[in-house]
């Protein structure tokens, strides 16, 4: 049977993040980063630099005047917001590709990932977990393992869905029965290869099983719920549909429950609609 390492080594066109983006992700997790150091790092990648500035000036951020250099963008928007913009700009090119293994059409994974990021951020705000920006980043990257496993799932999707439905198990568990691991474990391995901060890797690994994360982590809980919101609203649904379990303890740890759900969904859908302006900028960038 193939191992996770085999899968990663044998997969062509693995998703990647530019070195500048990876360094910014790590630097923003440390207390020594400054507006200047973040701007310097990003400016080493001219194409990324142009896309980040374009997004920073998109109507979504509503800046009173245009920002023309990265340091100014970091000062005006904040380091973590610019970090998130850099990740959005870096992941968009490969997240819009179709993933046939999961029956995800063009842009469907992107829609799902971006909506989960928005949902996780809203849940973090509602819960006062003080992790809004990391929740966004983690939400955006949570399904990165699907980009790799999709190639190995082609022609198997129907059988895995049937297995999950027959045995009343989640799609992730069906993946584990067939492959010996699931897309969250592949994502964890990729995150470790990229040397992503631990909280991001944990969110990728445990977004379907947040109570298994030891110790539990509010970022993981927020991404779990952001993913649930996204599936429920049908944003970027694949053939695996809603075949995943919801962990009520994630809600409890964040001080939330089902009574908060309708208002969270309402806010979540409105926020997604606002982001449409940003999508247009991404397509042009």
């Amino acid at each position: 049977m193939l191992t996770i390492e085999d899968i990663i080594n044998k997969t062509k066109d693995l998703p990647s993040l530019p070195a500048a983006t990876l360094k910014v992700i790590r630097d923003t997790e440390s207390s020594t980063a400054t507006a200047s150091s973040i701007a310097n790092t990003l400016s080493q990648d001219q194409s990324l630099c142009v896309r980040v500035l374009r997004l920073a000036n998109s109507p979504y951020y509503g800046l009173a005047r245009q920002v023309n250099d990265l340091q100014e963008a970091v000062v005006v928007l904040g380091m973590r917001t610019v970090r998130n913009i850099a990740i959005v700009a870096s992941t968009y090119p490969w997240m819009i590709r179709p993933l046939n293994g999961y029956a995800l059409g063009p842009k469907a994974l992107w829609t799902h990932a971006f909506s989960t990021a928005v949902g996780a951020q809203i849940v973090a705000t509602k819960s006062k977990a003080k992790c809004e920006d990391t929740a966004f980043t983690s939400g955006l990257l949570h399904d990165v393992g699907k980009v790799v496993l999709s190639l190995w799932l082609e022609n198997k999707l129907g059988a895995l869905v049937a297995l999950a439905q027959r045995d009343n198990i989640s799609f992730a568990e069906a993946e584990r029965k067939v492959f010996g691991f699931d897309h969250t474990e592949i994502g964890e391995a990729l995150g470790n290869n990229w040397n992503l901060p631990e909280s991001l890797v944990r969110a990728i690994r445990y977004h379907h099983s947040p109570s298994e994360c030891n110790p539990t982590n509010p970022v993981v809980d927020c991404v779990h719920i952001g993913d649930y919101l996204t599936m429920s609203m049908g944003f970027g649904l694949g053939g695996d549909g809603l075949l995943y379990e919801i962990d009520e303890n994630a809600w409890k740890r964040l001080g939330l429950d089902g009574t908060a759900l309708p208002e969270i969904i309402d806010e979540f859908v409105m926020a997604n609609q606002k982001y449409e302006a940003m999508f247009e900028e991404l397509q042009a960038a």
């Binding site: 869905v161 429920s232 049908g234 809603l242 075949l243 089902g258 009574t259």
Partner: protein, 167 residues
């Protein structure tokens, strides 16, 4: 009111048409596509509801957001186009939800709540629910052919199929 065209019904929207229209809703998760048609004339419409009932503390800005307000608003629009209430029949598609017992016991069973609210609203307004494909964990897309009354459903793991006819 649009006639003779293909209508994509977005989240929280209500659309009504007369004649040869084709309504479609893509990517229903826990949300619902509620279609209502007059059996005696091709007047019909669809609401794409995302929540069961309106908020107690907020005014309703979009009736189609909720099953409880979307159904009466759709009926009112159909009647204003000449539909006869006593001839109206309905279809409900969607209401999927995540698996496992936790959702059911903690108010996180949004799909089930949506379906129950739609059924209650239809019953309260005397509309027969003739066709339904709800629940489970599959995302669905729905197509409603107003001229023939056919309701088709497609999931990402199965082909498109006619689940019933509103006529």
């Amino acid at each position: 009111m649009i006639t003779g065209s293909e209508l994509l019904v977005g989240l929280s929207e209500i659309q009504v048409a007369k004649g040869a229209a084709m309504f479609s809703i893509l990517g229903l998760g826990s949300c619902l596509g509620i279609a209502i048609r007059d059996t005696q004339s091709p007047i019909g419409g669809v609401v794409h509801a995302m929540l069961p009932t309106a908020f107690a503390n907020k005014p309703v800005e979009q009736a189609g957001k909720f099953a409880s307000t979307g159904v009466p608003e759709l009926i009112a629009r159909l009647e204003s186009e000449g539909a006869n209430r006593s001839n109206l029949i309905a279809s409900v598609v969607g209401g999927a939800q995540v698996i496992g017992p936790t959702a059911m016991s903690n108010g996180l069973d949004l799909g089930t709540q949506n379906v129950e609210a739609a059924i209650a609203a239809l019953r309260d307004h005397g509309i027969e629910l003739k066709v339904s494909d709800t629940g489970g964990a599959n995302g669905r897309s729905m197509i409603f052919n107003l001229a023939s009354g056919e309701i088709k459903v497609r999931t990402l793991s199965s082909d498109e199929k006619v689940i019933g006819v509103l006529c």
